[in-house]
Each structure stands twice: as structure tokens, then as C-alpha cells.
């Protein structure tokens, strides 16, 4: 056997920052719309109940305060969620899987296949309407390093999961 032990040129290593990331399925934003709508509806009901049961609050000042803050909250929630969905992306490389997300910051988590413990696939009620699924990847690094990638086409998610399981198996 020929033994070599060359110095590794750090610049020649594959670069995670230059990987082409694929974004989530375009239908996923609709799922996010539905979720936002539900959250906003629940808050609206809460505010409504608060005003209905508190007679002190039945005056125009309270209405306008609640109305304006509700509108601001709704707009912020809407735009931040939609923007953050657009910023989420993942990439599967030969030996690891990368997940990028974050609105103000770009957070990239890299998980080598030979450190993955197990994989779960979840299908939410609304995601299923658009044939989407979520993949959750567990490593021994604890909950801070576990990654959930939502909004992947179901077939694709299935094949990613299949691939991961295969890679895990091959390491043994």
C-alpha cells in the first residue's frame, strides 16, 4: 500500500459557502400564509373577547390603539415570515447536508452524514394539501444542532431521507 501524507491545501478543500443551495418549494409560502392567518385570527378573537368583556375598553381610543398595534403586528409578522421563508435553503452534498436560514443573520448548519443519528419525516395538515413535507435530522450534538427543513416536495423529502438512511448505514 502506498502511504502518502501530503499537507492539505486549505484552499483546495470543497467550500461550503460556494455550494449551490436549493430553496424551499414555492408552494410552501402558501402554507406559511395559512399559518399566519390562523395566528392572526386567534389574536383577533382574543382582542375581541378582551374588548367585549371589558366595558372600560369600549371606547374609540382603545379601539384605535388595538387596531393600529394589531395592524403593525400583522404586517411585521407577514413580511418577516415571507422574507424568512425565501431565505431558507438547503443543499445535499456527497458527504453532508447543509441548511441555511435567517432573516437578519445568515445561519448555516452543516451536518456530516457520518454523524447523523436518525431522520424523521413530518407532514403537517396544511403541508399535505400542497404535497409538502418536513425533514428533521438528529445528531448527537443535541437540540441546538438538530435541523428541521420544512417545505420540501414529498417525493423529494422521501428520497433525501432514503439517501440519508443509506449513508448512515454505509458507515458501519
Amino acid at each position: 500500500m502506498e502511504f502518502t501524507n501530503e499537507t492539505i491545501d486549505l484552499d483546495l478543500l470543497p467550500k461550503f459557502e460556494e455550494v449551490h443551495f436549493s430553496s424551499l418549494h414555492k408552494d410552501y409560502v402558501k402554507v406559511v400564509y395559512i399559518n399566519i392567518a390562523i395566528v392572526l385570527l386567534i389574536i383577533a378573537i382574543g382582542i375581541g373577547a378582551l374588548i367585549y368583556f371589558n366595558e372600560e375598553m369600549q371606547q374609540s381610543l382603545a379601539y384605535s390603539i388595538f387596531g393600529i398595534s394589531y395592524m403593525v403586528f400583522a404586517l411585521v409578522l407577514f413580511f418577516s415570515s415571507v422574507a424568512s421563508v425565501k431565505r431558507r435553503a438547503y443543499a445535499v452534498r456527497e458527504k453532508d447536508i447543509l441548511y441555511k436560514r435567517g432573516l437578519l443573520s445568515t445561519t448555516t448548519t452543516m451536518m456530516p452524514f457520518n454523524r447523523i443519528q436518525h431522520v424523521a419525516m413530518h407532514e403537517g395538515a396544511f403541508s399535505r394539501i400542497y404535497n409538502l413535507a418536513q425533514i428533521q435530522i438528529y445528531t448527537a450534538g443535541g437540540s441546538t444542532s438538530d435541523v428541521k427543513i420544512s417545505g420540501i416536495e414529498k417525493e423529494k423529502a422521501e428520497s433525501i431521507k432514503e439517501l440519508l438512511m443509506q449513508k448512515i448505514q454505509n458507515q458501519i
Partner: protein
Amino acid sequence: MGLDFKTPQRQSVTGIIIMFADTFQGLIRALWAPILVVLFRMKSENYLLIALGFLALVVLTLVIGYLKYRNFTFFLDEEKQEFVLSKGIINKSKINIQLSKIQQVNINQSIIQKIIGVYSLDIDTAGSDKKEISIRAIDQSLALILKERLLDYGDKEEAVSEEKSKIISDNISNTKPFIKISYATLFKVGITSNYGRTIALLITFAITLYQSFKDAISTFEIDETTVDSAFEKSAGYFSVGILVAGLLFLVLLINIIRTFIKHFDFEMIKQKQSLAITSGLFAKKNTLLNPDKVQITSYSQNYFQKKLKILDMNMKQASSNEAKEEQKKSNVIEVPGCNSYERDEILKLILGKIPEKGTPIRPNFRYLISRIFSAIVFLGIIFTVLNFSEVENITFYIPLIFVYLGLVSSVIYFGFKNNRLYSNEDFVILKHGAWDVEHEIIEPYKIQAITTRQYFWHKGADVGHLTLHTAAGDVHFKFGDFTKIKQLVNYWLYQVETSKQNWM
């Protein structure tokens, strides 16, 4: 029901009842507040309505329990060596577990399960979310067979090594200790370590004492304002000085006692493969440390300890079980007060050689900006609170601000000055801490995952954060040169992905 698990199968039929009980329990837990309100508010003529509502709830939960039972299947894929579990009515989940990754299989029985005569089977991998992989209702015989099948593949090695370690621990008494810590050293450790923790403890203690004192007085109907003013008068600057001196003395005393109780008769004995550690005054604690299981090795030293030539070592082991968060601490093995020679011996034993510090990366000056900013924000919050709580003579607190500013700025400055990330082929060493300067040593192949993070306003300055996830916790390095960090990340990924070594 056959005894092979190749085809997807459901739980015991009685599992419906367990599912029902679980759902009902969850429902009650989520809704107990509104239910109580309804019960108290309702008039007696509406009792029928409540009963009907309750009945509807029960029926609904029964249906949900049944559906949960219907949709819960599991099977063993022998070809792929996987255990596959599917569940969920509306939100569906499918979990695949590689048999070799299974660390533990537990069979438990709760009261309800006892009544029905079924068991629950929980599967534990090193990944988190223990509850995810749990079969809630299964016959005992089936559970035992399944457990055997599941463990058939993975855990053999572990069992053997555990047995071995038992034999080793029996032989401990024959060998000479490799490190033994004397009373003098323990005393030194006691007076030099854990100031922060003890002070925090004392402050909370003092506050609760003060509060309960005030409460006691108010129950005796003594005018509260006189007490308050008496407090403020007596708490002049002079008595503050005495208080601080007393506090310091108390901190030292508590630390010495704590150290003696915890580390009394500390002995470390070298075995063939591992280290056996015994210590403790009241309860002698025996720990066997397997170097392979150590994920993070760290040593720390503050100014006084440097003068006394002692340092603290910590070996953080993999915590196999996320659910037992509080147990994580017990996975840290501490060696108090060893000297640098002993440290090097231990490092050699655990890491194979004394780790050299590779090329350092220092944090950017933005580290200072962000810390100062958060310190000022904190001060601002405190002041607003004080303002609103109408504390009378706010001037009294002005000197305290200077104390705070002096303390915080030195903590920030030294924290910045000491922060470094060294890396070379074999080790990643993170140096950090303002007072207790800690070196955390990680072998790259023990990294589980890596996270990088960069705020958009740091892009121009090429500054970013780094988190290394290991099985014993995360290690952070913030405000580093992002180009260098990215290069290192690529290198570590390369190392992890080509490594054949077992990380545990």
C-alpha cells in the same frame, strides 16, 4: 400477531385505551384553566349542558385515541437494518432509526398500562427528542422480543466494554493512585474558585431573606416606611464596606467547605484504558472515565490560581440522553487543583498527546462594541425599573453605577483579550473567560455538526460567529474573521467526513 416485525403492525388493541388516556390527559392539561372557569361561573341549571359538553369531549378524545391507534404502525426493515415508525392523524410523521444507532431500549409500565396489562417501549438514540420514539402499548413478550431484536445489532460492544470496566474497577484497590489531591491543595482550590457562583447564590439568599423579613414585619403591622428608612440609614457607605468584607469572608468559607465536601480524598487511578476517580467526604463517588467518551477536555485558571500554580480540569462526556438535561452536569468530571505537570499527564492520557496550540484567531473589536452595548442596555433597563418603582434617593445608587461600570468594563476587556480560537490538525482549542481563563480542547473528529452565523451588518467587515456542536455541548466563538472561519469549517468538515475513528 406473528413474532416477526417485518410487516408494519399496530400496537396492542388495548392501546386504544392508552392513546385515549394520553390524549385526554393532554387535553385536560391544556384546558384546565378554561374548564375551571366554566365550572365556577356556571349556574346550577346549566349542569346538564356541562355534562353533555364533557361527554362530547370524552367521545371526541375516544375517536382521536382510536385514530391515533389506527395510524400508529411500526416495523423492522431487516434488509436496511432500520426500525420504522409512522404515526399521526393530521400531522403525519415517519421516523427511521438505524439499528446500530440505538443506544438503549427501555420497557416501562405506568399505572394505566399496568391496569390494562401492556408496556411501553422507548427507544433512545444519541439524537434528541426521546418521546418521539415510544411505543405506548405493547405486550410484554412482544416488547422483550422486539427489544432483543433492536439491540441485537448495535449494543453488543457496549455491553462487553461495560463488563470489562466492572472487572477493572474491582482491581482498583491494588494500583497506586496517579493523582492524589492533598488537603492543602483543596484549601487553595477553595479560596480561589467559584467566586461568581457563590456570590450569586448569596445575593439571591440575601434578597429572599430581606423580602421575608419585610413580610414578617408587615404581618406584625409595623409601619413599613420606618423600617425601610431604618434600612437605608443603616446601609450607609461604611456599613456597605463591612457588608462587602463579610460577604467575601462568607464566600471563601462556603467555597472551602464545598470543595472539601465534594473533592475530599480525591484520587485518580490510571487503568489500562481508562481513569478511575474516587472522591467525596460524605458520599464516596466512584467514576470510571473512558478517554474515548470524553468529548471536550478543558482546563481553567484564574489570576490567584496562577500564582498558586494550580488549575481546574474538566472532562465533559457525551450525554446520551437529551431528556435528562439535569444529568448533563454529572457527565462532567472535575479534577480540582492539579498542577501543570499533572494536567499534561491527564491530557496525554485522554487525548494521546499534549495538545499544541495551532494558529490563533482573535475576535474582532466588534466583540467589544456588542458587549458594551448590551451592558449599557442592561443598565438602562435597571434604571427604568428603579425609576418606575419610585425609589426615593436615587443618588445613593450613583456610586454603585461606577462599581458596575468598572466591573463590567474590566470583564469585557479581559474577556476580549483572552478570547482566542486555536486550531491545528489534531485539536481545536478555544480560550475564553475574563477571570477564570478556560481552554476548551476538542478533537475535530468529535464534532457532530457545525453552525456559522453572520449578521448582515457584519458582512462588510467580514466578521462572523461559529458554533461547534459536540455530544457534550456547544462551543462558541464569536466575532471572528469570517473568511478564516469558513476555511476552518471546510477543513473540519473534511476531517469529520474522512475520519474513521469512532467518536464515542
